[in-house]
């Protein structure tokens, strides 16, 4: 089994700072990824901007609050709103994170890590199935950056995400920056991580910058992608082939062109890697 999503090229995250470019009609990029929750509103400027973005390029909805690993049931009101957004904006696909962010009806508004355990697999798989059944489509789940691990864990993270994707029959949004950050923070091998990801499940790749806090790396999305993460991207392309790729930049957001230049760099590296692998196979 695999994930059936189109190849969109190299996009960037849709951010408020770049809304004026949408009105000017100068926000040219392969595709946009919009943070779902920012548009779960009745009307006004953000939704008008999303209309513009959708008219300019293909769109993907990327959620942060689905809380797929929570022991709370999936929030049905949220799912209804998500469904309405999907109907209106027809995203190429929908994604959220393999993590949890709510319990007892309270939201932390953060991507909190799960223990890599059989119990967490069961919980996440059931929630993902509920979401997919309700929406009538497969979703992509993203690996998160983390700063702690649990004594409960019985397997490496890559095995955890691959097993969930397999059991729930969903796709994977592979964030190579998150792999790099978590690998540093928990001292595992990021190369081994990527090698263990089933390529046919990977529907999208995320790239972003992070901050070095000395004793740990922090997933800040506030700067350019660093070279070791570009190297991991090359590896991911060699491993997965051609995958829609998106640059996330969420803090200290620069000019549209600066973010787009990162997407262009990804395009070049992808082309280089694909050429090499064609040359090898020829």
């Amino acid at each position: 089994m695999a994930i059936a999503v189109p190849y969109l090229g190299h996009g960037i995250g849709l951010r408020t700072q770049h809304f004026p470019r949408l009105w000017e009609g100068t926000a040219r990029v392969d595709w946009f990824e919009a943070i779902t929750e920012n548009f779960m509103i009745p009307g006004g400027r953000p939704l008008a901007a999303l209309e513009k973005a959708r008219a300019a390029a293909p769109l993907v909805l990327h959620g942060v609050s689905l809380s797929l690993g929570s022991t709370d049931p999936v929030n049905t009101a949220y799912l209804e709103e998500l469904h309405a957004l999907i109907q209106r904006f027809e995203p190429a696909w929908v994604s959220d994170h393999l993590c949890w962010g709510s319990v007892g009806g309270h939201y932390a508004h953060d991507l909190l890590p799960l223990p890599y355990s059989e119990e967490a697999i069961t919980v996440a798989v059931e929630n993902i199935r509920t979401v997919q059944d309700t929406l009538g489509r497969q979703i992509l789940i993203e690996n998160v950056s983390s700063y702690l691990t649990y004594t409960h864990s019985t397997m490496p993270e890559w095995e955890f995400i691959a097993e969930i994707a397999q059991q729930a029959d969903c796709g994977i949004l592979l964030d190579v920056n998150n792999i790099y950050v978590s690998a540093f923070n928990h001292q595992f091998d990021p190369v081994a991580y990527i090698h263990h990801i089933p390529p046919a499940r990977v529907g999208q790749i995320h790239l972003a910058g992070h901050s070095d806090k000395g004793t740990y790396l922090f997933d800040t999305h506030d700067g350019p992608v660093i070279d070791p993460v570009w190297d991991l991207y090359r590896l991911a392309v060699r491993h997965c082939g051609r995958v829609s790729t998106l640059v996330e930049w969420d803090d200290q957001i620069p000019e549209f062109e600066v973010v787009r230049a990162e997407a262009e760099r990804a395009r070049e590296l992808e082309a280089e890697e694909l050429e090499r692998s064609y040359a090898r196979s020829a």
Binding site: E37, N38, M40, I41, P42, G43, G44, R45, P46, L47, A48, S65, L66, S67, S70, T71, N75, Y78, W100, S102, V103, G104, G105, H106, Y107, A108, H109, D110, L112, L114, P115, S117, E119, A120, V123, Y147, L148, T149, Y150, T151, H152, N185, H186, Q187, T215, Y216, F218
Partner: protein, 266 residues
């Protein structure tokens, strides 16, 4: 080994019970579930999340209530926000709703008695946010109004657009709102004054303006769904018949200009 639900509850409590309080507020059983690996101990690892939690939510409140935050200054706003979040953890997947209870929370606080208008100002900031992303609509155009036959006017039911609110305050919050914007303002203690504002969105821009008694009286009837004859009668209860007729004419023109009347149903 804790069941996942218990683990998640204890993790959440460690973040949210006393936001910003640091490792002393973390659940000891939860700390034991976290690996101390490399240079960081378990509680230091939890603290990364605890600090992120508070910083993110504080940032949202600061953005939603930027003028209140400005008047309070960093430290006092920080303290109030921490207490607010401890009492009102987010119950919605979107951060959009986080500050909903903040104006009422401020009203109950004795330690901001030196800024007695703060809660009123917070209400205005919240009303502006509510209007900012209220449902879209097509405003009523003057041509449409002109095409209404005279005999239809008495039973005509005008409606405001969804992105419209009337707010009532004990303080002149529109002046305070402007003053908080103005860095070089004169420090003069504001005086209480009953104030009614209308807050609305035109296109994608949000506005507010003070309204006088006749305009308020008219809005009250319109918002209650009463026909135009009742709106006019209400105006005549506060103005002479002659003044009322002139006033309703100029109010209609201003409302149309500001785009706050909704298109009439077919």
């Amino acid at each position: 080994m804790l069941a996942l639900r218990d683990l998640q509850s204890r993790f959440f409590d460690s973040l949210a019970r006393q936001p910003g309080a640091g490792p002393a507020s973390f659940d000891p059983t939860f700390i034991e579930c976290v690996e101390s690996r490399g240079p960081l101990a378990a509680s230091e690892r939890i603290d990364i999340y605890a600090q992120m939690y508070f910083a993110r939510l504080l940032d949202v409140l600061q953005g939603d209530f930027s003028r209140v935050a400005h008047l309070l200054g960093c430290d006092r706003f920080h303290t109030l926000a921490a207490d607010y979040l401890a009492q009102h953890p987010s119950t919605h997947p979107s951060l959009r709703h986080l500050g909903q209870g903040f104006p009422a929370f401020l009203r109950e606080r004795a330690d901001i008695a030196d800024l007695p208008f703060l809660s009123d100002l917070a209400e205005l900031e919240w009303a502006r946010l509510t209007v900012f992303d209220a449902p879209d609509s097509v405003p009523l155009r003057i041509e449409h109004l002109q095409s209404i036959a005279p005999e239809q006017w008495p039973t005509l039911r005008l409606q405001t657009i969804p992105a419209f609110h009337v707010t009532r305050h004990a303080w002149p919050v529109h002046e305070l709102w402007q003053a908080a914007e103005d860095e070089a303002r004169e420090e003069s203690a504001p005086q209480p004054a009953p104030t009614v504002l209308r807050v609305w969105r035109e296109g994608v821009s949000v506005y507010h303006a003070r309204i006088d008694t006749p305009e308020l009286v008219a809005f009250e009837r319109i918002l209650a769904g009463e026909p135009f004859a009742v709106v006019c009668a209400a105006l005549e209860s506060v103005l002479s018949a002659e003044e009322a007729a002139a006033t309703i004419g100029s109010l209609l023109l201003r409302w149309i200009e500001d785009g706050i009347l909704a298109q009439l149903p077919e």
